[in-house]
Subunit: 384 residues, 2 copies
């Protein structure tokens, strides 16, 4: 029986994690749940999983849930509460807070848990060296939950993948998102509704927009680089609209090994919870009916934001912190219809051309440039 704490339990990944745990009650005990504002979902989760600790990050919403949890669980409130929640001891923590706000609790939590099942990409994009050095210091495992990165993690259990001599490169798959096949001239008119209708994955709103611009895929390339130490030039992306194959590794003789499972976040979450064991799935699920998988080369020129972020990644400076913050602000503005879809790229490019290159050494550096980028991006939005 393992103690699990879940950061961001009411979001898409948090809910998937809890449904994995609901099916495996004998193996996992939910010790703590954290949420931001979705009190309705959180109440239902408290009743179902009976955690010892609940953290509500928004103080106003925390007050609303107080009468409900009174006496039954320990309620932690606001930023201070999240800090306390992050220092709960656990066997496994699921880090499913979205955006850069996951970074501080993650770094704190690494000191108190044995394993982080990490679903948050932004923290890796902005601060991978700081995170991995912290994990190393406290001997904490970090297992990627992002499906492609989790698929690589699985393929890296293969003894040849550790052999630089025979291992050549890796391929991440990309569904291409909701706008695959959409003409360039129609991009200006693209609505949030259209973008949010992802063909294969059901996810949160920002990641769904990021899947369309392929900012999400750029982030996964960065994750692959930092998790497995693979040089950027050895990481490619392949279009695969069915999202069934998540990752390929290629040996120098051109043989490929692939990791496949249905596009359902419960699969990589269960893997991260059970590793090195595996959860017990229903039998006779695979190949019970006919299906096809298509693959196509991806042209970086068709995805200017992907190209931009990969160029930033090569710099190894503060540019990824800046572009991540910039993207978060821009996607929010797009979803609120304050800017057009095409403005996301325009402003990102503007920021990348204008930013001042600096080295990131500390957590304070990360937050300084993150805030700088948010302020500058909002200013730029005003000017449009």
């Amino acid at each position: 029986m393992k103690d699990v704490v879940i950061f961001g339990s009411t979001g898409s990944v948090g809910r998937s994690a809890l449904s994995v745990i609901a099916q495996n009650r004998k193996d996992f005990k939910v010790k703590g749940l954290s949420a931001n504002r979705d009190i309705h979902t959180l109440k239902a989760q408290i009743e179902k999983f009976n955690p010892s600790y609940v953290c509500v990050c928004d103080e106003d919403f925390a007050k609303k849930i107080e009468p409900f949890v009174n006496g039954k669980v320990k309620l932690l409130k606001g930023e201070k509460g999240l800090e306390e929640f992050s220092s709960l001891e656990s066997d496994i923590s699921v880090m499913a807070i979205s955006g850069i706000s996951a970074l501080k609790p993650l770094l704190m939590n690494i000191q108190y848990t044995k394993r982080v099942a990490l679903a948050n990409k932004e923290s890796i994009v902005a601060a991978a060296p700081i995170i991995f050095s912290q994990a190393n210091k406290f001997n904490t495992e970090i297992i990627p939950v992002d499906s492609e990165i989790n698929a690589f993690f699985q393929l890296m259990q293969f003894k040849e993948t550790a052999d630089n001599e025979v291992f050549r490169k890796v391929y991440l798959t990309a569904s291409g998102g909701a706008l695959l096949g959409c003409k360039k001239e129609d991009f200006r008119k693209v609505t949030p509704k259209k973008v949010l209708n992802h063909p294969t994955w059901k996810m949160g709103e920002r990641i769904t927009v990021d899947s369309t611009t392929l900012v999400n895929k750029a982030f996964e390339v960065i994750e692959t680089h930092f998790f497995f130490g693979i040089p950027y030039e050895d990481i490619s992306i392949v279009l695969h609209k069915e999202s069934f194959v998540h990752a390929f590794v290629e040996f120098q003789d051109n043989t490929l090994l692939a990791c496949l499972y249905p596009p359902d976040m419960k699969m990589p979450i269960a893997h991260a919870l059970y590793y090195p064991k595996r959860s017990q799935g229903k039998s006779n699920m695979n190949f019970s009916k006919a299906f096809s998988c298509s693959f196509a080369p991806l042209s970086l020129n068709s995805y200017p934001l992907l190209k931009l972020i990969l160029a930033a990644a090569q710099k190894g400076d503060n540019s990824l912190v800046i572009l991540n913050a910039c993207d978060e602000v821009l996607v929010e503005a797009f979803l609120e219809k304050r800017i057009k879809f095409t403005d996301i790229f325009k402003i990102m490019r503007y920021m990348f051309n204008k930013y001042e290159s600096n080295v990131i050494n500390t957590l304070d550096d990360v937050f300084f440039w993150d805030l700088w980028a948010r302020v500058k991006t909002r200013e730029r939005i005003q000017k449009i």
Copy 2:
């Protein structure tokens, strides 16, 4: 530099092995070549690879090549010559003789080589326990060259595949052969020409017919069972007409790992020659253009010969020796237009219903029942 001897160098697999070696002259030296009757191809191979030993199994053809090789190489002739050829010391032998006639040289050769790259299926089907016990006794590696089995061999390098607790089952892929989609009522009229036109693989004649009846696939199931100790009930077949994915392993959580490469025998041969290293292929070959892979469940009832041989495999007696011999005789008769395509199944079923069950303990048992089956099958062909 490794010494290689090739049994059956003029056949399809033998020629592929030599073209791998031709591209990697610095790593391999051809020590010996054996052929049966194709003197024309053999002469060209002798000139190109300059072996020290050449064996021609058919004595009449051996005489024909004698003036050509005179002095340059040691020529070994007939059955006695093959015995001497089998006892040549080598780092690697490629066993690409077709049919049950590979068995004797294989067992002899296991004593003198460090590794057998085994392309012959019939020897495994008829005498796996004898072969693996011999390999064990002489500490000789046997690496499967058959593409599906080689793909499993690659996937078995994965640490989880050794863990019975999480490893659930394996899937072999089948292209479905030249008659996929052909109506049952049209099977009687099928000609050798039609059957020999395999959509994806270019192979020898018997194996191409066996790919259509799926006798070949049944043999691969048996190989999978004996090479990796996987119970028959955990081995399934999936239709996959593009022949790009060769094998899947499935974990208990339903995650699949796959091994993929183009349908070209040079790939598994190079793997078997270089293992645990890998050959150097051209870069940027994979995903350079769009392609699709289709998968469909296979119904055993659509392939009665497959079903029949798998039923025989479960018996663990002399039935596989008998059905292998029977199939070899029947395919030859079909190719010579002495029987109809549908007679292959009819006579195989007859033999399976009539044979006397006996245990196979020794090589003599194998050859006794092999001969018995050939005589009985020929008698049966006469009666049609």
